[in-house]
């Protein structure tokens, strides 16, 4: 068994631990060995905590012996390096935070620790979560485990690649415009961005506060459900945390999808979608129909305005959030500043990479005197229209389905010179962030040997439904079981 322990899903690891077939220490040591063997090629994991992970694994084994094990006890995982952790540095993929030792844990980190999960390391990401290819990381880009010449997607590219390469069964991730779902699609795994407010943002380094949401990437919907349950719930320390009851997501997975109505937005299947991706998604839809779901064509008439509105709202909020990095309180400080202004400007100019600087500048411009109404207010009005489109759709459908991305993973370097073509990766994903709705991506086929993802969007706080649809799909298909040849 021990040679292929890493191919087990999170749920299977839990069963093996319960049955006494394996110890947490064995699982964690195996995960650490996997990282050592496969990470040099992929650069998915930035830092490993051997000592801390082994100690936590031993503690998990001890609590299991004492009869105190939960569903996640003793299972190895990685945190996206945007979550503050007292152990290991928290870099956010930036030179700005290269040496930042967070003085506290993010709520998500505390909750998963309490659930007994074992952090083995921190995952690579686009700098400050800005990017769709993981090529904006100060610590180097990440290879897609299906073909390392290709990008894993972003910004949670390290988390997705680490799971696809089976270094860990699951990882935390965050999603501001598609940063969980797009890399999950590119890497052939499952990822869920819950409803805005479901998972605490405390200790999760802020990019765009009205859009950012933490979530999970894992091999299956079942694994996502198990981990999301432990991460979710009200947190006093996040002023936008939702005080809404958290259902046991895993318990609802076997809910039948017979009679469920799935809405297919015509705008998701038109211009911009690569034909072969559309074919894979259509085959997935047929599968869901065979399981008893009804499909219905719907319209999200303002879909074409999602990307324009997003690229006002997100940079505006980013320019405000990232003003805290001033070279004074924490983070990078330039050498020998001649005065305070020089300190600010050089510390920020040196600490931030080109995409972060572009977005700060766009945000600063659109919020500057005289431009606010034309840009930020206009974008917020369009955001309302986009959200209303979903409200209207959900009057007649239970979930909305479409491709996660317009095309599969692209080659490294292919889009780095053209920010706007990079932005179009998020064509189908940003609307869920603008509306605050839960979205999930799951594998549904391959194009030229690279995975294709299918996206489900649900009503607010109805993660149970999209997880159940995905689980039922995964009971009937085996796309989620496919692994890269190197695994």
């Amino acid at each position: 068994m021990s040679a292929d322990l890493h191919t087990l899903t999170l749920a299977q690891m839990h069963s093996a631990l319960q049955a006494g077939d394996v110890s947490s220490r064995e699982l964690v040591d195996h995960s650490l060995k996997r990282i050592e063997a496969t990470n040099p090629d992929l650069n998915a994991i930035l830092q490993v905590d051997v000592e801390g992970a082994q100690a936590s694994a031993d503690a998990a084994d001890a609590s299991r012996s004492a009869g105190n094990a939960g569903p996640l006890t003793g299972i190895p995982m990685a945190h996206k390096d945007i979550f503050c952790t007292k152990r290991l540095n928290t870099t956010c993929g930036s030179r700005m935070l290269e040496n930042f030792a967070a003085p506290y844990n993010a709520t998500v980190v505390d909750r998963l620790n309490e659930a007994g999960m074992v952090m083995v390391g921190k995952a690579n990401m686009d700098e400050f979560a800005m990017g769709s290819s993981n090529e904006n990381s100060y610590f180097g880009s990440v290879g897609n485990p299906w073909n390392k010449e290709y990008v894993p997607g972003g910004s949670s590219g390290g988390s997705a690649a680490a799971v696809a390469a089976r270094m860990v069964p699951a990882a935390t991730a965050t999603d501001t415009g598609g940063s969980i779902r797009q890399p999950a699609a590119f890497c052939g795994i499952t990822g869920i961005k819950p409803t805005y407010g479901r998972v605490s943002r405390y200790g999760m380094i802020a990019f765009a506060s009205s859009l950012d949401q933490g979530g999970v990437v894992a091999a299956t919907a079942e694994d996502c459900a198990m981990m999301l349950h432990a991460m979710s719930g009200f947190d006093e320390r996040d002023s936008t945390s939702a005080d809404v009851e958290v259902p046991n997501f895993a318990a609802g997975l076997n809910e039948s999808i017979k009679g469920l109505t799935i809405g297919l937005p015509e705008e998701y299947f038109g211009d911009g979608l690569e034909a072969a991706v559309g074919d894979a998604v259509q085959a997935g839809i047929k599968e869901l129909e065979a399981l008893g779901a009804n499909v219905k064509s719907i319209s999200l008439p303002n879909q074409h305005l999602c990307i324009p509105a997003y690229y006002v709202v997100a940079p505006a909020e980013a320019s405000s959030n990232l003003s805290r990095f001033d070279g004074v309180r924490f983070g990078h400080r330039c050498e020998d500043p001649k005065d305070l202004e020089d300190l600010y400007k050089r510390s920020r100019g040196e600490g931030f990479g080109p995409e972060v600087i572009r977005r700060i500048m766009i945000g600063t411009y659109t919020l500057s005197a005289g431009y606010y109404d034309a840009y930020y207010k206009k974008a917020q009005q369009i955001r309302r229209l986009i959200s209303d489109d979903f409200d209207k759709a959900f009057e007649s459908v239970d979930v909305v389905l479409g491709p996660t991305t317009p095309s599969p993973a692209f080659k490294r370097g292919a889009k780095t010179d053209d920010p706007v073509s990079m932005y179009l990766n998020d064509l189908y994903t940003v609307s869920a962030n603008l509306s605050g709705l839960p979205g999930l991506s799951m594998p549904c086929g391959f194009v030229n040997d690279m995975p294709v993802g299918m996206q489900l969007v649900g009503r607010a706080f109805d993660e149970s439904r999209i997880l159940a649809v995905a689980h039922q799909f995964q009971q009937a298909t085996d796309w989620h079981q496919k692994m890269p040849a190197t695994v």
């Binding site: 004074v328 600010y344 600063t364």
Partner: protein
């Protein structure tokens, strides 16, 4: 609208981001491309549409006005590039 390198210089100043002269032109081109993308918003009339700042109808909560955190000055200042006796140190501001 096309941004000039001079406008980019002033935006960079507002953002307190040091940008060298050589990259001003390149940034002007990049930012102009992004602004052209976002200007597609003007294709729809939004007169009378209530701006949406936040998802859902969530109201921001106020916490009770009572002490909720212990003093953590030392640990919170530990990551500072330069701190002494509880203060953050910066270059002299008043001559």
């Amino acid at each position: 609208m096309a941004l000039t390198p001079e406008e980019v210089r002033s935006i960079a100043h507002l953002a307190r981001v040091g940008v060298d002269d050589a990259t001003l032109t390149e940034l002007a081109t990049d930012l102009t491309t992004v602004l052209e993308l976002v200007e597609q918003m003007n294709s729809v009339d939004t007169t009378g549409v209530e701006p949406m700042a936040h998802p859902g109808a969530a109201q921001l909560r106020l916490r009770a006005d009572k002490v909720s955190e212990e003093n953590q000055r030392e640990s919170l200042q530990a990551p500072a590039p330069s701190a002494e006796a509880g203060y953050f140190l910066v270059p002299r501001v008043i001559e």
